[in-house]
Subunit: 476 residues, 2 copies
């Protein structure tokens, strides 16, 4: 395999051996691991297509991989085979300012897209927390969200076209500078398909004007309920913040322990609210100022104990620490963290949060919450010691209860992290067997051989029995 | 058929006979006509499902229909059979203000959605020109756009969930109050599928805050090129107008002839520009004022000969006449109009418009243009006498040349009117045979028997041979 792929690409574009295998045996969902046979580093769509054609001809499974920051195992090479890394496909192909779009290779880091057009007053709006490393291709695969999703939408809303290598190794072009197009629209099948219908190698992305004015506030509340009720009230007021994030006491304790960050005495929850405007006219600044004042007044009426509004960019960055450093801080509290990802109608936030704490207490697990409150996108983080099987069991049980509650409140089993291998068993909570049959048909439009990122998303693929049999029958 | 369907529903919910058949033999694309056997008027999802189950069991084709305003033949009952009208399914099911969404039946007129939540300061943003009659279900089937698409997006971006009766008569629920969800996302397969994958009976739609401030300007230019170049410049300035519409001299002549509307001497093109803001804070009005002044300054620099800015709502409505009455006015100029629908990257507008006039002149056909310039969505209208076969031929030839040019400039064969039966032959301009095979597979996920709105979209279905054979073989 290594020598054949080395002939198709070049020998130094194929990694193998125990070190390489270990480095690529999981993504950020490290609970599941599976070693690939080798890793290839193609540099172009044509090279990706050549690798895929070889895999298809030899019945070798393959899995695409960007930066490996995915949180549900999307880049896990579940049956081994070949990992197709986009590491060397990190170039911008074309920038078209008049039509406000840009074409780039899939392996480019999200943030580099925005950096490239900053001087023109534009940016690529999706901003997952991992944006300094996570790739355009990975963002497309997972339909990534981020703090600014509330106002600007998820990745799907910013992709105009893709170049994709299908599981047979054919190159497809969908969309382009102009969105839409005739016939059945495959976009939502591809964007968010977690890499199971082909490998996106390049994409046209929409560029959005940068905010011309920004105001950021960090507000401390004495109870969780005060904070969650404030979220509903802010939205009801007509203000659409660019970001509306919530952190609970568990996060604050972690931030203080890890980084010495201090928040007001008696704080049970923090809200981070950012308002912006990209309007070109002069009084945008004044307008955003008034919006943040409206937000502040609503917070005050809901018992806020402290309201800090950033006076400059340095202060703004400081307020964002509470949000951006939260996960890192948690990492220091316990050997393991499991971050759950569910979504509910945002009016159910108070009820849902009460439930999260009740469940955690009942199972005796520690929980902290840091999430996109404005979207109703919940991220309870359990922290525990994964060397203790009892703790692991409790975390799994508590997580499932929470996800079931999300569904019963009219929400979904995943808000933005995807299904991958993590949530396959939970799909039947939302889908009937008939629904799942339709889902399988959707996948098969592109992926009939099931060599492309096998064993993902659908519960029926969890065991991958058929596939494993066939794959084990061949020489690799 | 009539008596069996009358038993399933009630006799007065089934229309038949020559008068009814003629009334339902086409939509607004009246070039193609085909009589249904009968028309049913169900009142609920369950009744739609019962009708579809009967059709599936008896191999009778069926076609959904809203208000029949579609422009590419989507509601044409190509093989006869049953037309399922949503006329009696026009109720709002639930309004949820805190979560900014609303559930309604498919047959409700678009505008009624906005009327229902106006007092709460909200609206349903998609606004096709037909919005006072065209239905939510039809808007979903065609993924309708409208003048305000530029800022607010097409229908797909405002649909959170649908209830759909699949072609076997099963009821599927997709999405809900919360967008997204796990697994493969069928939304873009369903929204915009032109009624070929099932009958959407209810939908959850997103509600958007109403503008708190609006400014509207109508600007006259001495040449088409001045107007098209102004469009590019406005977008480049950072202003995102809520609407940016263009009307050429052909439309002005029609408006004067039909309604006595007068525009400044020497006008070759009009731009209608609307800026708005739904920001809640006070200075929104001032901000929008500045935006319209920015627009005016750009127009001035591009040789505008007249700039009218509405001072109140009455004046605003008057300025909109140029846009809204344009098509009606055209109807008085000639017995027939064909409105084409293509889209190009908006920077190509000047080049494209030059081409449209050149083609029209070469073929000796009259053309007028009225379109969503900000989106690059072109609508050349040919007006002619369809009793003269030579004129009909010239119109068809000219239309095809224009659509080919759209594709060659990086655009698409349809911007917002759909493929239906009108543009099936043009799909190979954009799709390879392999692409079309994938398209057919997408349709077959839901519609295996091909009884649901047959003979649409895919060029291979143009003849519908297999289907006709089978259908003729049965008793109906």
């Amino acid at each position: 395999m290594v020598s054949e792929l080395g002939r198709i690409l070049s020998p130094e574009q194929v990694l193998s051996g125990p070190g390489a295998q270990r480095a690529y045996d999981c993504d950020a969902y490290s609970v599941d691991r599976s070693k690939p046979m080798c890793i290839v580093l193609p540099e172009s769509t044509e090279q990706v297509a050549a690798v895929v054609r070889w895999c298809a001809a030899n019945l070798v499974p393959f899995t695409g991989r960007g930066a490996g920051t995915g949180l549900s195992g999307g880049a896990l090479p579940a049956l081994g085979g070949v990992v197709v890394s986009t590491k060397r496909m990190n170039q911008i192909v074309e920038i078209d300012i008049p039509n406000r779009c840009l074409k780039a290779q899939a392996g480019i880091a999200n943030k580099r897209l925005s950096d490239a057009v900053k001087d023109q007053g534009l940016h690529f709006a999706p901003d997952p927390s991992s944006q300094s490393v996570s790739t355009l291709g990975g963002n497309i695969a997972e339909n990534a969200g981020g703090p600014h999703t509330l106002k600007y939408g998820v990745t799907a809303q910013h992709i105009l076209g893709v170049t994709m290598v299908d599981p047979e190794g054919e190159i497809l072009e969908l969309g382009g500078k102009v969105p839409g197009g005739p016939g059945f629209d495959f976009f939502s099948l591809i964007v968010g398909s977690e890499g199971t219908v082909g490998l996106v190698t390049e994409a046209w992305v929409k560029l959005t004007p940068l905010p011309t004015a920004v105001q950021t506030a960090l507000i401390a509340f004495p109870t969780i309920r005060d904070a969650t009720e404030t979220v509903a009230e802010i939205i009801a007021s007509g203000v659409i913040p660019a970001a509306l994030e919530m952190m609970d006491r568990g996060i604050l304790v972690a931030l203080e322990a890890a980084f010495g960050l201090k928040y007001p005495e008696g704080t049970a929850a923090l809200l981070l609210v950012e308002c912006d405007s990209n309007l070109s006219a002069e009084p945008a600044g004044e307008l955003v100022q008034r919006e943040i004042e409206t937000v502040a007044a609503i917070c005050q009426a809901h018992n806020a104990i402290d309201i800090s509004i950033a006076q400059d960019e340095a202060e703004r960055q400081k307020l964002w620490h509470a949000r951006k450093k939260g996960v890192g801080a948690m990492g220091r509290l316990a050997p393991s963290i499991v971050t759950h990802d569910g979504v509910i109608p945002r009016s159910k936030l108070p009820e849902m949060l009460d439930f999260v704490y009740e469940v955690a207490e009942r199972h005796g697990v520690k929980v902290a919450n840091l999430f996109h409150a404005g979207d109703g996108n919940l991220h309870p983080c359990f922290y525990f010691d994964d060397r203790d099987p009892k703790q692991v069991h409790a975390v799994i049980e508590a997580g499932e209860e929470i996800i079931r509650k999300c569904v019963s409140l009219g929400g979904s089993v995943t808000g933005e992290h995807g299904v991958g291998v993590e949530k396959q068993d939970l799909l039947p909570l939302m889908f009937t067997p008939d629904d799942l049959r339709l889902q399988a048909m959707a996948k098969q439009i592109f992926n009939q051989g099931n060599l492309c990122n096998p064993c993902k998303i659908l519960p029926t693929e969890k065991s991958c029995v058929e596939h494993k049999k066939r794959w084990r029958g061949v020489a690799w």
